[in-house]
């Protein structure tokens, strides 16, 4: 066993709504790749951000080479030889590669020694298979190239310990292969590597040791050669859900939402949605399962008209709404519970009542049209919003209170109240229970099932397997922009889904 270089003891980190790290112990060794495996929200990123000084732990200790250290900022982390390759690259797109690299290097004297920097860059890149053109402007580079720059940045600052945060999320298979070559080269030079990921196949292929996190705790640690995908998936996701008390949905024949052959690009102009086809029928809950970052965000944005589809169709109730303005799409009775519930759904500095009528404020129910202006019917609005509060069981507050004082669960209820009061025929719900406590989550689940029973079609996008298994009639798994398989919920197991979510296609028949 090689030498321990980093020891994290009893690391605990609490955020307002969630215990992100719960007394975690972790060791990193020289010349070893340690993978941190777990679903989104398991606490992997948080733990590493603490190591890198971006967050401060509430409890716990960090030892580097046996010495206790205080890492208050990235500067301290860098001084201790820690480097981080971020998930969202911390690069200045408008500058060249070498300009980005030179920050924090020995060449960064007052007068930039570009030549010296370039030489060092070229030497290092040859050593570790990270060839990159130093004079290229970053915004022109591929994701794989940008990542190389990120890696080179850490090496130029003398990092001995490298943290890779979901590095393959934005890479093509070829680029992933090159990355692995680089990691092996780094390991052979004695670097300690942390590989944060949720891709089982890759993790098994590159790691020496695998630590599995779930809900902020370490649930297991295995050497790569002693385990397999099935076991890891099991550990990541938890026990099988035995008691799924759900009524079978009565499925009507005609689909309310049909997506066929949809393709779209993400903000970096890469393919994010690849030939996705789905359909949701009345009275059916169709889930799109998968870890965030596999194209779900782009998919929902296309459906909502907030992103252009490069090909394919979105049809609601027989009407083609592909690439139409959001206003039109909403008029087709599409309701949306967005992933970023505050950023996309709430007027945080306004009172509850105003949040509840957003979108409905010009309807004849809530306003009177006069030649001068559309006047709001204040009495009706007060009544209406009051009723909504009661109906959705939001207690302890009234309609004039500012919405920002509500808890996460109640905020979600406000959005639900607003969206549902517009009586959608198809509901798009994206990560609807993320960050909510057990009570609020149960509430939302009950609601979604009620809606289904009333004949509304629900497209649920979630990375919570328990939730998906509880609610869905049909499950489609999305990985890297594609639907890798569609299963009927009755026959799906969490193990199967876990594997599919990690990109491993299921050989058996996937049609319903």
């Amino acid at each position: 066993m090689s030498e321990k270089i980093v020891e994290m003891k009893g690391i605990t980190k609490k955020f307002p709504n969630i215990l992100a790290n719960d007394h975690i112990d972790l060791q990193l060794r020289k010349g070893e790749v340690c993978a941190l495996l777990g679903e989104n929200g398991a606490g992997k990123s948080t733990l590493m951000k603490i190591l890198y000084g971006l967050y401060h732990a509430d409890e716990g200790q960090i030892l580097i080479r046996g010495q206790a250290v205080n890492i208050d900022s990235p500067k301290d982390a860098i001084a201790s030889g820690i480097g981080m390759v971020h998930q969202h690259f911390a690069l200045d797109d408008k500058l060249t590669a070498v300009e980005n690299l030179i920050l924090g290097t020995k060449q960064a004297r007052i007068l930039l020694d570009m030549k010296g920097a370039k030489k060092e860059v070229i030497d290092l890149s040859k050593k570790f298979g990270l060839e990159v053109d130093p004079d290229s402007k970053v915004y022109q580079l591929s994701e794989g190239m940008k990542q190389r720059i990120e890696i080179l940045k850490t090496l130029l600052r003398g990092a001995q310990i490298l943290i890779f945060d979901e590095p393959t999320a934005v890479l093509t298979p070829l680029e992933t292969r090159d990355l692995f070559k680089t990691i092996r080269a780094l390991v052979s030079q004695g670097h300690a590597i942390v590989f944060i990921s949720h891709h089982l196949e890759e993790v098994l292929s590159i790691s020496d040791r695998i630590v599995v996190l779930r809900n902020g705790k370490v649930v297991g640690e295995k050497r790569a050669e002693e385990t397999n995908e099935a076991e890891l998936a099991q550990m990541m996701v938890g026990r099988e859900i035995e008691e799924v008390s759900r009524l079978k949905g009565r499925k009507a024949a005609q689909p309310v939402l049909e997506i066929s052959g949809l393709c779209a690009l993400n903000d970096k102009k890469l393919e994010a949605v690849r030939n996705v086809s789905l359909s949701v029928r009345k009275g059916e809950i169709v889930s799109v399962a998968g870890v965030s970052g596999n194209g779900q965000k782009e998919l929902t944005e296309v459906i909502l008209g907030m992103r252009k589809a490069t090909s394919g169709k979105v049809v609601i109730n027989g009407k083609d709404v592909t690439n139409k303005p959001t206003k039109t799409i909403i008029q087709q009775k599409l309701g949306c519970i967005a992933e970023d519930r505050i950023g996309w759904g709430l007027l945080m500095d306004r009172p509850i009542a105003e949040n509840l009528i957003l979108g409905l404020h010009r309807s004849s129910k809530l306003s009177t049209k006069t030649p001068v202006a559309n006047f709001l019917k204040t009495q009706e609005i007060k009544q209406y919003t009051q009723q909504l509060l009661t109906r959705f069981d939001i207690r302890g507050t009234d309609v004039d209170a500012p919405v920002k004082l509500l808890s996460g669960g109640n905020l979600q209820k406000i959005i639900l109240a607003r969206v549902l009061s517009q009586e959608p025929e198809i509901l798009l719900a994206s990560q609807p229970t993320r960050g909510l406590d057990v009570g609020a989550t149960e509430y939302v689940h009950k609601l979604l099932l009620e809606l289904r029973d009333k004949g509304i079609g629900v497209l649920l996008v979630s990375e919570d397997l328990e939730e998906i298994l509880t609610l869905s009639d049909t499950i489609a798994v999305m990985f890297r922009g594609e639907i890798v398989g569609t299963l009927s919920a009755e026959s799906a197991t969490s193990e199967q889904l876990g594997l599919m979510m990690a990109g491993i296609k299921q050989p058996e028949g996937t049609k319903q």
């Binding site: 959001t326 909403i330 996309w344 979108g359």
Partner: protein, 342 residues
Amino acid sequence: MLRRALLPVRALVATFLVGAIPVMAAGANPLTAYYLMAAGSLGDMIAITEVFVRAAPLMMTGLAIAVAFRAKFWNIGAEGQLYAGAILGTLVAVNFPELPFWIHIPFMIVAGMIGGALCALPGILKIKLKVGDVVTTLMLNFIMVILTSYLVQNVLKDPFTRWPQSPPITESATYPILIPFTRFHLGIVVALFFALVVGYGLIEYTALGYEIKAIGSNEIASRLAGINPTTLTIKTAIISGSFAGLAGIGEVAGIRHHLIATLSPVPIGYGLTGVVIAVMSGLSPLWVVVVAFLFSIIINGSQTMSRLTGVPIFLGEIFQGLALGFSLLFLFLDQYRIRRVR
């Protein structure tokens, strides 16, 4: 609601506290100075009517900016819009001598509003450029003053005097004086009406007012609800500009009876003071009226205070800057406190 009420009070107290420093530097007693400010502007009936006279344009520009800021339209050009409204209104007031007053005055008011609105429209550049609204509206401040100065020396020149002013506006377009032997004119009532009824009504009771608040609060959520940000910005610019234009009309038709290039005080005109008033009122039309009166008292009283204590009259401007700064500071602290509590 309570917090909003507290904001102008807190900012005022802080301003008076810090504002005592320049007073003392000038060798005067702050309490005396403040007392004289109040006494100077509230000392007798005439003085009190003068407070109303000054408050009228202040509440109109304050209102104009409050509406704009609600939608995050940074209208710093209320000054220019004031003059633009004055110009167009004067054209109507001067060129139609034979109309009955109940046609002429509304006609002039509408012209003033159109002038102000047109002057505010270039601000929609903000859609394309980060400082688009600030710089364009601001430049128009200077352009409008120069334009006014040009007009009153050429096309719109008073044939009877050598003063740079327009011909006198006709009787039928003049705001009648409502309290004899004072300058309390109809425009003051017009201003109060617009602030308390139109402004407040718009913001609180109309769908458009709601949309303005929504878009200033969260543009994405508003868009997802079917609100079009571009149309809304245009509407906001028009409304904001027309309110500021009304301020200009008020000064011409109620006080000066001619168009002149010095309708608004220097260096800090009604347009910029409007920013102070708007922010300090928490962007609420009702509070705009209150704060407008407050600053009217301060500005009017500064003359007396200055004369009797030797403290330079520019204390008023320092107060305005401090008041705005403290308002912003307290707004920030309030938000910060909420975030920590959650």
